[in-house]
């Protein structure tokens, strides 16, 4: 048993290594310093890293958590019905069965029923220590359905699964989810949902043991310090958790939000049931270090094995780029993310499309890229969706607001501005009072603070005078519709999963406008009824273009059968948004940059979450973590 298992693991390791090497370098769009993934894998060692602060949106409770980094951790701690190989590039965005035995024949002909059979021999980690059943997966959805607990992306399930609407007061069985036996789970859908499998890959749908989680169903984020493993790793100290009663439970020692997160191998995990993850490292040690420069210096010295989350400052990048021996340890992978300036169609002067188009013409995107740190960190964005999310079918070749060297075209911008009602003397510069004193929300950290003068300067050329406000809590400011923030440069959007649809409804759908946590910053598709509901006042006669019909059309095309057609539909929508709606000035398709020490013998990037792949990297240090 031991020898066979070892051989199997070596075979698996070789297979994964070959796959990783084959798709290495796939997503280095526009990066001159990109290094490929790949390398030699040996088991053992601990990946030691640090982060300035975790910044979880909902306390690391998988039912509610929405931070992309958290998905990276859940990829090591939990397993889903379907999941990813946690590698880079297009291969890393493909769905494979994880807890499900297979994806063949899972969908009924009418697309309304999904039936999964679970693999045998998969158990929860300590202290729960029992086999995972279909009921545990259903429990995850019961938690999702509780009004106070649901994930930021809860609508993915409320709109698709029968019996779910996000208003439950407590965990109750869902009428649309059947569990005829421990190994079978059936989903009944309200309507055909073409990307349903992708929705099942999200962290909130991983199995949750009710005997532990039931104690945390009244307050959002409570379960975050008690996450029980269903995957290859668990939080250190899990076995010491006393689950005899709700009162007896104390937070698992391995995760302290202000100090550290340490993961160790889950003793109940059976690698034989998992061909998606390599699981080479024995442990992952993440310390909180508020000094970002210190983190990168430690990686250079080798006391840390690699960075995790923050982009390296330019002075650090320079050290890697200018030293041929170090260059290979600077990794730049596609972040599947767009950074943009948003304009609120409900606040003048951005209610006028000519002003929005002029802003696109005048923006000095080359200056912004320089402020961001150069091409290591991405390429200039010319439309909404990053090329890697739409299978590279549309890149910088589509630029409706072309300017020489992306530095902004003041002449064309002024031509556009002349057509605006806010330019009374038709000189191409806004002179109405609505064009000055505009609050522009920004983050208070570099590179956003460095890009700020470039944006301010560009807008000033067409007479738009903004008052930048650097805020720590910028998201609350711009996502609360009542604030009616006219313009912001703090915003970005990354894919939830590898489907262009995730760049659709949440950003541009009329029904998706919500009073708080709103991502439809431009208020596209706002109706007068919704206006009343939200309690905001807009100048009379303001029209809000809507793309709801286009979104519905594209969302009908299923991912499984016609992914090319689906992508093409969303590409057309992207073009329409950039030419007829123009709510944004997109400026960067970001790369995520990680540095590693030579101790990382095999580097891999998890395309799904957008960070280093904890379940595929290998280190050759001799560190250990106590279990």
């Amino acid at each position: 048993m031991g020898r066979r298992r070892t051989l199997r693991m070596v075979g698996l390791a070789l297979a994964v290594a070959m796959v990783a090497a084959a798709c290495g370098g796939g997503n280095d769009n526009g990066s001159s310093t990109a290094t490929t993934t790949g390398g030699t894998a040996q088991k053992g060692g601990v990946y030691r890293t640090a982060i300035s602060s975790f910044g979880f949106t909902q306390g690391f409770d998988p039912t509610a958590e929405y931070l992309g980094l958290a998905f990276n951790f859940y990829g090591a701690l939990t397993r889903n019905l379907v999941s990813y190989k946690h590698v880079a590039g297009a291969e890393g965005n493909k769905l494979y069965p994880d807890l499900a035995q297979s994806l063949d024949g899972v969908v009924s002909d009418d697309g309304l029923t999904y039936t999964f059979k679970l693999k045998q021999g998969i158990k929860f980690g300590p202290p729960v220590d029992r086999a995972i059943t279909s009921k545990d997966i259903e429990y995850a959805f019961e938690r999702l359905n509780i009004a106070t607990l649901g994930a930021g992306y809860g609508t993915y399930y409320y709109e698709s699964i029968k019996g779910m609407d996000g208003t439950a007061k407590e965990a109750k069985p869902i009428s649309g989810i059947e569990t005829p036996d421990d190994q079978t789970i059936v989903f009944h859908l309200k309507q055909k949902t073409s990307d349903f499998l992708y929705r099942l890959s999200m962290a909130a749908t991983a199995p949750i043991p009710s005997e532990v989680a039931k104690c945390f169903n009244s307050k959002i984020g409570g379960y975050g310090r008690y996450v029980i493993s269903s995957g290859p790793y668990m939080l250190q100290g899990s076995e010491k958790l006393d689950i005899s009663s709700c009162g007896a439970m104390k937070p698992i020692s391995g995760y302290d939000p202000t100090k550290k997160m340490v993961m160790v191998r889950n003793p109940n995990y059976d690698q034989a049931t998992d061909d998606l993850r390599g699981n080479y490292v024995d442990g992952i040690d993440i310390q909180v270090d508020s000094n970002v420069d210190d983190i990168f210096n430690k990686v250079l010295q080798g006391t840390l094995d690699g960075s995790l989350y923050e982009p390296p400052p330019a002075t650090i990048v320079r050290q890697y780029i200018t030293d041929p021996a170090k260059k290979q340890y600077l990794h730049s992978n596609s972040g599947d993310r767009t950074w943009f300036v948003f304009m609120n169609l409900g606040t003048p002067p951005f209610d006028d499309i000519h002003v929005r188009k002029a802003a696109n013409f005048v923006m000095n995107k080359a200056g912004i890229l320089r402020a961001w740190g150069g091409t290591t960190f991405g390429q200039i964005a010319t439309h909404v969706m990053p090329p890697s999310v739409i299978n590279d079918t549309l890149g910088q070749d589509f630029d409706p607001y072309k300017s020489p060297d992306f530095a902004g075209d003041e002449a064309k911008a002024k031509e556009e501005m002349k057509q605006s009602k806010y330019d009374s003397n038709k000189d191409g510069v806004c002179d109405a009072k609505e064009c000055s004193g505009l609050i522009m929300v920004n983050r208070n950290t570099p590179p956003w603070t460095n890009a700020e003068p470039v944006v301010v300067d560009s807008l000033a050329k067409i007479g738009i005078k903004v008052k930048p406000r650097e805020l720590a809590d910028h998201y609350t400011a711009v996502q609360t519709v009542k604030n009616q923030i006219p313009i912001g440069m703090d915003t970005g959007w990354g894919k939830d999963y590898a489907d262009p649809g995730t760049f659709g409804a949440p950003l541009f759908g009329g029904p998706n406008i919500v009073p708080t946590n709103n991502s439809n910053y431009g208020l596209i598709g706002l109706t007068p009824e919704k206006q009343k509901e939200l309690g905001i006042k807009v100048p009379p006669g303001t029209t809000f273009p809507s793309v709801d019909a286009d979104l519905a059309k594209c969302n009908q095309i299923s991912v499984e059968e016609q992914s090319e057609q689906r992508t093409a539909c969303f590409v057309d929508l992207d073009k329409k948004i950039m030419t007829e709606v123009v709510p944004w000035v997109p400026f960067l398709w970001a790369q995520n940059v990680t540095t590693t020490a030579p101790s990382v013998t095999k580097y891999e990037f998890d395309q799904f979450s957008g960070y280093i792949s904890l379940t595929q990297i290998a280190v050759n240090n001799k560190e250990t973590v106590s279990s």
């Binding site: 400052p313 002075t315 320079r318 609050i439 301010v456 008052k467 650097e470 400011a477 604030n483």
Partner: protein, 323 residues
């Protein structure tokens, strides 16, 4: 008989006044101050700084470099790192390609304006309340003293960050537009946290002065309390107030620099030495771009030291009357 030839009686010296010419307080003070080398050095540096601050726009015009103008040629193409001092940019460029020399000069304006206005405001509030509390005593004094204690107990930086955050969201800011991110907010915060110190000093001085005979005399002549406070007490308080205020200014310069360093001071578009130092330390940029830290740092030190020297000189020159 002839009178003996007397020697020429030496002319009695003219009635040169045998009194020692009394000098006025002002002349005493001036001669003492001028003799104090350290104080004079401070004063000279101060004058230079003020001149530079006043002529900053002139420099900007002549060199054709605005304080917020972006110069892409001062930033490297590949990584966006700043370039160092050269013939055209005397102090080099910063991380977005602005002229560090011009910004340093404009930073002097920011520091001086904020420090002087905030200190002036704090002095106004502190002297009024200290005078009232010290002279009136009783309930007034209790209220003022408790007020002082409360403000001194507040955690300054946390409060400043909190206030700045709250007043940033809407375009009007706080207090109906009175407190907006920028000069008004920074001056407000600094004045709010520094008036108690001067209030205490003034109150202490008043407590000792009010028992003096000239106050008693005034009172017995039927003077109203406000007349006593402003016509009798205040002139005697001028010396300590002037000294203390002058010494408060460098503290407030550093206070503004600290707030700007933390990002809750004046916005980026208003050059501030504190903010420039923050930009230099972000991402350890100064390990590469030493000029971003050196020049604002030197100017900040010079401003603080010069005010301190002048303040010390004032205290020494005003002599015992200040005590």
């Amino acid at each position: 008989m002839s009178t003996p030839a007397l020697e020429e009686i030496p002319e009695q010296p003219q009635a040169v006044s045998t009194e020692i010419q009394g000098r006025t307080n002002w002349e005493l003070f001036r001669s003492r101050f001028v003799k104090d080398k350290a104080a004079m050095t401070g004063a000279v540096i101060l004058v230079v700084l003020v001149l530079l601050a006043l002529t900053a726009p002139l420099f900007a015009k002549v060199m054709d470099h605005g304080p917020n103008q972006l110069f892409p040629e001062m930033v490297t193409e590949d990584l966006g790192l700043p370039k160092g001092p050269n013939a055209e940019f005397w102090f080099g460029g910063d991380q977005v390609g602005r002229d560090v020399f011009i910004r340093t000069l404009y930073g002097a304006r920011t520091s001086l304006i904020v420090a002087l206005v905030a200190t002036g405001l704090a002095t106004l509030i502190g002297v009024t309340l200290g005078l009232a509390g010290g002279f009136r005593g009783g309930a007034v004094d209790t209220v003022v003293s408790r007020f002082v204690d409360i403000v001194l107990a507040m955690p300054v930086i946390l409060f400043a960050i909190g206030i700045a955050g709250v007043c940033s969201i809407t375009s009007e800011g706080c207090l109906g537009g009175l407190l907006q991110p920028g000069f008004s907010l920074v001056i407000g915060i600094i004045a709010l946290f520094t008036w108690p110190n001067i209030a205490r000093i003034v109150r202490g001085q008043v407590l000792s002065l009010r028992e003096r005979e000239f106050i008693e005399a005034s009172r017995s002549l039927g003077a109203r309390p406000s007349r006593i406070m402003f016509r009798e007490l205040l002139p005697n308080l001028v010396a300590p107030i002037v000294v203390y205020t002058t010494l408060m200014i460098p503290n407030n310069i550093l206070f503004e620099a600290a707030l700007s360093y933390l990002g809750v001071g004046v916005p980026q578009s208003t050059p501030s030495w504190g903010r420039m130092l923050a930009d230099a330390t972000a991402g350890s940029l100064f390990t590469f771009a030493w000029w971003m830290m050196l020049f604002p740092g030197i100017f900040l030190i010079l401003a603080v030291v010069s005010f301190n020297l002048v303040g010390d000189g004032l205290r020494d020159a005003l002599g015992p009357s200040e005590r």
